[in-house]
C-alpha cells in the first residue's frame, strides 16, 4: 500500500555528508553519527573473572589516532547483537591505542567478551564530556572510585601523572568488593609506589591474604591528605557510593563546583536523540557523563529521576 523508495547509500556519499565538527574527529568518522565504524581487536586481556580489556585499531588498516578526552565514551557494537556505551580506558596521550575495559554483565558485553584478537567490532564516538583535567591544574586532585569505575578514570590518572608538575597533591582512593575484584592491580601497585601519589585501596570483603583496608571507600577520605579548598575531586561509582562520597567531601570543605561525578544511564544513540539517558533536563550522553556536582546536586537527591 505504501510505495517506499529505498535509497541506499554508501556512508561516503558526499551529499549525505554531515560535517563532523569535532576537532579531534577520527580519520574514519562516518557521515552519520549512528553508523558504526569497524575496528579490529588487536589485543585482549582478561583483567578479572568478569572484566576484560580490548585494544582496537581501525579495520580499514589505515591506522590513525583516535583522539579523545579522559572520561569520554564510545558506543561499541557486537555484530548482530547490539550496542553498549563503554568508557575509553586508555591513555589520552597515546591515542593510537583505542582501549576499553569492559565488565561482562549483559548480552552485548558477553558477545564482546567472546571475541578474539582479529575479530571486528563497531565503534561510534567519542561522545560526551570529560574530566576537567586542565581546569584542575594547580589544584590537588582526588580520584575516588569503586569497581569498574576505575576504568573511565584511568585516562585522567594517566594525564595527571604525565603532567605531574602541573598539579598539587594527587590522591587515588579505590574500593572493590574483594581483593580478587581489584581492577588494574598492577597499575594501582605501581602508582602506590610513587612518592608523588597517594593511593589507598579498600575492599568490602577481605580474604586472608589481604593486608589492606576493609570497608567502604568513603572511609578512606578522612585519612587522605589534601587541601579541600584547593582541590578537585573526580568520582565514578554507583550513585549511592557517589552520594556518600560527596557528603564526606563536603564535610571536609570541598565546594560542590569542585566535585565532578560521572553518571550512568541507559543509552541508545549517544547523540541526544533517543531520550533514554535523560536526568532531569540533562542528557547524560551529551551534557555528561561527567558533570560538576553543582549542576546535578538537586537532581541526585530525587529518587527515580
Amino acid at each position: 500500500m505504501t510505495s517506499k523508495t529505498a535509497v541506499k547509500r554508501s556512508p561516503k556519499t558526499a551529499d549525505d555528508a554531515q560535517p563532523d565538527t569535532r576537532p579531534d574527529a577520527p580519520r574514519d568518522a562516518p557521515l552519520d553519527a549512528m553508523m558504526p565504524v569497524p575496528f579490529r581487536i588487536v589485543k585482549r586481556t582478561q583483567e578479572l573473572a568478569d572484566t576484560f580489556t580490548i585494544e582496537l585499531t581501525p579495520a580499514s588498516g589505515r591506522g590513525g589516532a583516535f583522539a579523545f578526552r579522559p572520561g569520554q565514551f564510545n558506543m561499541l557494537y557486537a555484530f548482530g547483537v547490539g550496542e553498549v556505551p563503554i568508557s575509553i580506558s586508555g591513555d589520552p596521550a597515546n591515542p593510537k591505542k583505542l582501549i576499553h575495559t569492559i565488565r561482562n554483565v549483559g548480552a552485548v558485553t558477553q558477545a564482546i567478551s567472546n571475541m578474539k584478537v582479529g575479530d571486528e567490532i563497531g565503534v561510534r564516538g567519542p561522545f560526551g564530556s570529560a574530566w576537567p583535567v586542565e581546569k584542575a591544574e594547580g589544584s590537588d586532585v582526588l580520584i575516588i572510585t569503586g569497581g569498574i569505575g576505575l576504568a573511565p578514570l584511568r585516562p585522567a590518572i594517566d594525564h595527571v601523572l604525565a603532567n605531574r608538575g602541573k598539579y598539587g597533591r594527587f590522591v587515588i582512593l579505590y574500593g572493590a568488593r574483594s581483593p580478587a575484584d581489584v581492577l588494574f592491580m598492577e597499575q594501582l601497585t605501581a602508582w602506590r609506589g610513587r612518592l608523588d601519589t597517594y593511593v589507598d585501596v579498600t575492599v568490602d570483603h577481605a580474604t586472608r591474604d589481604w593486608a589492606g583496608n576493609v570497608g567502604v571507600v568513603t572511609r578512606l577520605i578522612e585519612r587522605a591528605n589534601f587541601d579541600a579548598y584547593h582541590a578537585k575531586a573526580f568520582i565514578c561509582g554507583p550513585e549511592l557510593m557517589m552520594r556518600f562520597t560527596i557528603k564526606e567531601l563536603s564535610s571536609r570543605g570541598l565546594k560542590d563546583e569542585d566535585i565532578y561525578v560521572s553518571m550512568e544511564r541507559n543509552m541508545k544513540c549517544a547523540i541526544g536523540h533517543c531520550g533514554h539517558c535523560q536526568f532531569g533536563g540533562k542528557f547524560v550522553c551529551k551534557d555528561g557523563p561527567v558533570f560538576p556536582y553543582s549542576s546535578v546536586n538537586a537532581l541526585l537527591k530525587v529518587r527515580g529521576l
Binding site: T5, A6, V7, M34, R40, G80, G82, G122, K268, G280
Partner: protein, 379 residues
C-alpha cells in the same frame, strides 16, 4: 502589536487567493504531478487517520469529532466542510519520524563486516497541517536537526516535504493550543495555508502562500485574488476556534513542575495511570526511541532498526542492576516534567503544543492540564 499584525496580513494578502472547494482536488492533482506523495486525513475504523490521499473525495467531508478525556467520536456536521474535525490520534510525526525505520544494514565479510546506510525519504506533501502540528514539527526539528548531531533521514524527509497548512475554525474538547501559544492560526513554516470558508457565499478556501514554492503552486490554481472581506471572514473563523478551546494549560506550568519533583500527587496519578504509553505515542513531539539489532538466520547479515519508545516502560531506564524509574509515579513524573519543564532547558521551548491528544487517547482520561493544576495546589 496591531501594526505588526496589519503588516503580516498585508503581506499575506498579496499572495492570497480564493478557490472553490473543488480547487482542493486540483491542488492534490497538481502536487501529485509534481512528484509528491500526498498525505492527508481519511476515516478508518471510526477515526481520522493520516494516509495517502489521491482525490479530495477521500477526505472526511462533513465529519466533526467529539473529543473528551478518554473519548473520541465522529459525527455528521450540520455544515459540510472538509476539515472541521480537529485531529485524530496520528500526527505527521509518523511520516517525518516513522514508528519503525531501518538505520543501516551490515554484511559479514571475510575479515569482519561492512555497514551500509539506509535512507527511506519519499517526497511528501502533507495536506491539512494544523498550527499545533506545525509547531510540533518545528520542535522535532530542534531535536533531530538543530543540535550537534543530525538525524540524516529525518532531515532528508523534512527538507523534501511540502506543507499545506490549515487554520482551524473549530477547536476540540481537549484542545488547548491557544494557551500554549501554538495555534489555532498557522504563523510560519508552511508552503500553503488553507482556511475553509462556508456560508452564504458557498464553500471555498482562502489559500495563502508561505514560501516561494507555495506561490508557484498558487499561481497554477484556478482562483481569484482574495478580498479584504475574505480575509476578514477567515480571521473570524480562526478567532472562533481560539475562543472555543476545550482546555487551558496554566501559564506557569514549567515552574509548577520544576518545584514539585517530590509532590505526593505523583502517587495519586500513578493510581490512575496504566503505564500504557498511549500519551507518548500520540504526542506529536515525543521523540524517544530505541534501537534494535537483528541478524539473519545464517548470521551473515545484520540490521539496526530505530523505533518509537516510551518513558512509560520499565525497560526504558534500565541499566545494569535494574531500571532507574521503577515506579509508575516516577515514570509519569518523567513524562510530564520533561514535556512541560525540562524541555525548555534542553531545547528552549515547551515540548507541548496543546493538541490534547494525550488527554483524548488516555484510556483512563488523565488530563495533562488538570494534573498541572492539581500539582500547583500541592495536592
Amino acid at each position: 502589536m496591531g501594526k505588526e499584525g496589519d503588516r503580516v496580513q498585508a503581506a499575506a494578502a498579496s499572495v492570497a487567493v480564493i478557490a472553490a472547494s473543488e480547487g482542493l482536488d486540483a491542488l492534490l492533482k497538481l502536487l501529485q504531478r509534481g512528484g509528491y506523495r500526498t498525505i492527508g486525513p481519511k476515516v478508518r475504523d471510526g477515526a481520522v487517520v493520516l494516509e495517502d490521499v489521491s482525490r479530495a473525495d477521500e477526505l472526511p467531508l462533513g465529519l466533526i469529532d467529539d473529543q473528551q478525556p478518554g473519548a473520541y467520536r465522529l459525527s455528521q456536521a450540520k455544515t459540510p466542510a472538509y476539515f472541521d474535525f480537529t485531529h485524530g490520534s496520528q500526527s505527521w510525526k509518523r511520516y517525518l519520524f516513522p514508528p519503525k525505520e531501518k538505520l543501516w544494514s551490515a554484511q559479514k565479510t571475510n575479515k569482519g563486516f561492512e555497514v551500509q546506510h539506509d535512507v527511506d525519504a519519499p517526497k511528501y506533501a502533507f495536506i491539512g497541517v494544523r498550527a499545533c502540528e506545525l509547531n510540533a514539527i518545528a520542535i522535532q526539528d530542534k531535536v533531530f536537526i538543530e543540535g550537534d548531531h543530525v538525524n540524516t533521514s529525518y532531515r532528508e524527509r523534512r527538507e523534501k516535504a511540502l506543507i499545506v497548512a490549515l487554520n482551524c475554525r473549530r477547536a476540540g474538547g481537549t484542545c488547548f493550543c491557544a494557551s500554549m501559544n501554538a495555534g489555532p492560526k498557522v504563523e510560519r513554516g508552511y508552503d500553503l495555508a488553507l482556511t475553509e470558508l462556508t456560508g452564504k457565499n458557498g464553500h471555498s478556501f482562502l489559500i495563502e502562500a508561505g514560501s516561494e514554492q507555495g506561490e508557484k503552486i498558487l499561481a497554477k490554481l484556478d482562483a481569484r485574488p482574495a478580498t479584504p472581506a475574505d480575509l476578514k471572514a477567515a480571521a473570524k473563523a480562526v478567532d472562533q476556534a481560539a475562543q472555543s478551546m476545550g482546555r487551558e494549560m496554566p501559564k506557569s506550568a514549567r515552574k509548577i513542575l520544576s518545584k514539585n519533583l517530590e509532590s505526593a500527587h505523583w502517587q495519586d496519578v500513578a493510581k490512575r495511570c496504566l503505564d500504557c504509553a498511549n500519551c507518548t505515542l500520540v504526542c506529536p513531539t515525543c521523540f524517544c526511541n530505541t534501537t534494535t539489532d537483528s541478524t539473519s538466520l545464517d548470521g551473515q547479515n545484520a540490521e539496526r532498526w530505530r523505533q518509537w519508545d516510551s518513558c512509560f516502560t520499565l525497560d526504558f531506564s534500565y541499566i545494569h542492576g535494574g531500571a532507574i524509574r521503577r515506579e509508575g509515579s516516577q515514570r509519569y513524573r518523567q513524562w510530564i516534567t520533561h514535556k512541560l519543564a525540562s524541555w525548555h532547558e534542553q531545547f528552549g521551548v515547551s515540548g507541548c503544543v496543546g493538541c490534547g491528544r494525550c488527554i483524548t487517547w488516555c484510556p483512563v482520561g488523565i488530563d495533562i492540564t488538570a494534573e498541572v493544576r492539581a500539582l500547583a495546589k500541592g495536592k
